[in-house]
Structures are given as C-alpha cells and as structure tokens.
Symmetry: C2
Subunit: 248 residues, 2 copies
DNA sequence: CCTCGCTGTTGATCTGCGTCAATGTTTTCC
DNA sequence: GGAAAACATTGACGCAGATCAACAGCGAGG
C-alpha cells in the first residue's frame, strides 16, 4: 500500500517504483547496479489478471503506472478486495512461491518486475533491502488493520466516506498537493469494485454516494469525477478523528 | 500471529518465543549471545493494558505465555480487534516509536522484551533478524487479509465457525496434536471479545454458538469448553475449502 | 449465607443493508 | 447512427443482525 511515508521515499525514484534507489541509497553502487540489471517491465490491459491466486509466482515487483486490486474470492463467488495497488506499491512475497490472492489490473498498468530468485539472492547480500521491505510490509499491515475496523464496525455511509477520504488523500499526495481547500479527483474504481472493497453491495454503494452528494459532503460531475469541498467534514463522516486517519 | 509455519521454527526455542535462536541459527554465536544479554521479562495481569494506543513504545518483544489482544477503538466506543496474540507472537514495530493499537492482556501473560534501540542496532548488524521479521510480518499480513474476507463477506454463523476453526487448529498445533478425530479446547475469549474480533454483537455471538451446538457442529461443556466432533464439518460451516484455510 | 458484579443466554422488536427488479446513462463497436 | 454491453441509479420489499430488555449461573467478598 501506499502512504505518505513510503511515498516520500518514492519521490527520488519516479521511473521505477520498486524504490530500489531509495532502498539502496546506503548500499554500494554495484548492488544498485545489479538490481538495475535484473529488472524488466511488463504491461497488462485493464481487466486482465496479473496473477491468479494459487499460481506459481516467479517474480516480485511493483506498480509503475495504473491501478490494480488484490482480491480474494470464496467458492460461491463472494469477493473481498484486500488491497488496492497504486503506483509504487509492491507485489509479491520473497520466500513464498504461490500467490495467495488474485491481482487484477483495474486500468492498463505497467509493472516493474524482478525474477524472484535473483531478487532473493540480492536480499541476502544486501541487508538494507530486507529492512526496507520490512518497513513497507509493516506499513501494509497497519493499513490492513485499519481496514479491518472499517469492515467490522463502520456503517455503509462511514465506509464510503472512509474510502473517499483515503483516495482523496492518496491522490493529493501523488500529485504533490496538500489536503487544504477543496480536493478534486477521479474515482479509479467502479461501484462494484468499491463494494468489494467495502464489504457492501454495489446498490448500497450507489445509494450512499447519492446520499453524501445530496447532503453536500461531496460533489459529483458524471459518475466518477468527485469534488470534496471540505475534507474535515468528509473525515467526520468517516468516523475518523480529523488528523489521525487511515494509512492505506 | 502464529501459524503452523512460524510455530515449526519456534519448536527449538520454547523458553523465549521471540524465536531468536531460530532467527540466529545461522548467525555467529556472539550475536545470539548479545540478544540474550538485552532481553528481559515482564508480567501483566489479566485485563491490564500492555500498551496504550498512541503511547511511546520503548520495547519490542513477544508473548511467552497467556493471551493478549490487539484492538482499535473509535471515539464513540466501537471496538475492533485486529489481532490475537498467542505465545510466540511478536509485538512491536522496529522503526516506529508510537503504538498504533491497544494491547490488552486477556489472561495473565508473560512477555519477553528487548529495549527497542539495542534491538534495532542488532537488526542492522545481523541481517537474518530483519529477514526473519520480514517473514513473520508477511505471515501476519496474510492473516490480516484473510480476516478482511471474514469481516467483509461472511455471515454471523460463518464468522463464528471461522473463529472456532482458527482457535481449534492453533490449539492443536500448540499442543502438538493433529486435527484428526475430535478436537477439544477451551475458548480463550469472552463472548464480547469474540464479538469484537468478528464485528458482531455479543448477543449474536451467543445465539450463533447456541445454534451451532443445536446443529451438532460443536459440543459445549459449560461456557468455554468446546469439543469439535468433525473438523471438516466446521470448516464447511466456515465457508472455507477443507484444506486451504486461515493462517492467523 | 447473602449480595454484588461479571458473564452468558434468550426473547421481542427494530432497522440497515441485501435482494430483486426496472430504468437510465455512457461507452463500444458494427 | 443504432444496437449492445457495461456501468449506474432508484424503488419495493424482506431478512440478518442490532438493539433493548429480562433473567440465569457463578465466583468473590463481606
């Protein structure tokens, strides 16, 4: 997951969000060089599977551009999104070789990949990489736990407000804007994808978005273009205290 | 979180579940020795707070005996448990110094602690520690994501069955028993704590447990002593395919 | 022994969200 | 331009689980 903290590190590595430049800033140059040598890029179309749950994973990598989702599905088709992958987010798990989740491209995406074996070898030789990955994984764990509160205890309206507030802040951070004044962004998800993230149905998502619009918490132009006139108000609606907030 | 995999590693270090012996099996003896030197133990009574969310954390460590919970609370009092800490589970976060969650002792517990600074120093000098922590954190992340599916998409009955199935398997693993034949264990949680874990009310928890008992999925002696006559049946009720299953 | 507090159970009722269904809007593709 | 498909909105209705309430069991402490 992306958050303000990891993003700050990401700034100096805009072309390849694995953030290995940041990771290796303290390493010897030849380690950095070796990392450069084993990397390659992959492109996926909107709607296509990047990874199927249960499949063998022979690479790790990160999103360069576009948006992907991490989802779990039960046998009867019930689906829960467990992560939203934005540019710079890491995918894959050193030390495990089957994927636990489906990764689906929501938009066209570009991934920066490393074959798993060489990457793992590099991890052993370059301690900072393991430390950096640990830091990133702990951030993701925090985000997942924050989301457990959303899923377990919030109302539909609060869930929608939480999601909007996360996307708004993320978007503001990505584009180097603050969260002062009004915030404008495009929703990167369909109503159904939002429902899968929030543990709701798409109808409920639609209804609650309409309600928030009617109440002036958000403004909508078309289906996806959102304006948040007052971020504080939105966060109140989300049930968050105004400054703490979600890390996702 | 504990799972079969981390527990296997834990076997050779029963007195101090930080698992540093396992962590350091490949390290020089003097690193292991140094880790021994900075460790100390703490004892907490049932019901007491080990850590308050937002407080400064000056140590990391792990549970030696007893059970603790990791919870988040909203301003209006709604509570969500985001983790269950059993013997050998790790607490704390190298690289961050305020706690994000409340840690509460459910039973009397003993923790094995390391002051954070020396532990972090050791991490820098001993790459295997960071790698081992990364592995453990990734396991926890998987568990958190599995739990997101439970919270977001399962019915009350399935939630209860999921929780029982996790506790049953955990208990079986801790006591070195298999999950063949019938499984017997004591619930380590009150109905309220179970509700907080599952995103339900305690009344619903109580009702669903009664229903599962009436249907022969579980047997109850008193309030806490549970017998699972058929683990496969329970996992069906949980909505899991019979072998995959939760990692928590 | 009795009382108090804590935990758990069960019933009655209410309500938020899911389900089913109809319809509108936008995009795609011939 | 028109048809079809994908995405979104809105309404009517039902139900799973929340809420409110009463009560039972049990250990602790006077």
């Amino acid at each position: 997951m992306l958050n303000e903290r990891s993003l700050a590190v990401h700034q100096d590595c805009s072309d390849c969000p694995i953030r290995h430049r940041a990771v290796c800033a303290r390493c010897e140059t030849d380690e950095l060089q070796r990392l450069e040598e084993i990397k390659y890029y992959r492109r996926y179309e909107a709607g296509s599977h990047v990874i199927w749950s249960g499949d063998r994973m022979d690479f790790v990598g990160s999103v360069v551009s576009g948006i992907a989702t991490l989802t779990q599905t039960m046998e009867d088709g019930r689906t829960q999104m467990v992560g939203l992958l934005l540019p710079s987010d890491f995918v894959g798990r050193p030390g495990r070789d089957t994927a636990a989740y489906d990764v689906v491209a929501t938009t066209d995406i570009v991934m920066c990949c490393f074959r798993k074996k060489p990457f793992e070898d590099m991890m052993v030789r370059t301690p900072h990489i393991a430390q950096r990955l640990l830091e990133m994984t702990l951030d993701e764990l925090d985000a997942a736990r924050e989301w457990m509160l959303v899923l377990g205890r919030k109302t539909a309206r609060e869930k929608i407000a939480s999601l909007l507030s996360i996307i708004a802040r993320r978007d503001a951070t990505l584009n180097m804007r603050g969260t002062e004044g009004q915030i404008v962004f495009d929703l990167p998800l369909t109503r159904e994808a939002m429902a899968d993230y929030l543990g709701l149905t798409l109808e409920t998502v639609s209804r609650q978005i309409s309600a928030l619009r009617k109440d002036g918490v958000i403004e909508l132009e078309g289906k996806r273009h959102v304006t948040i006139p007052d971020m504080g108000r939105l966060m109140e609606e989300a049930g968050d205290d105004a400054d703490g907030g979600l890390l996702i």
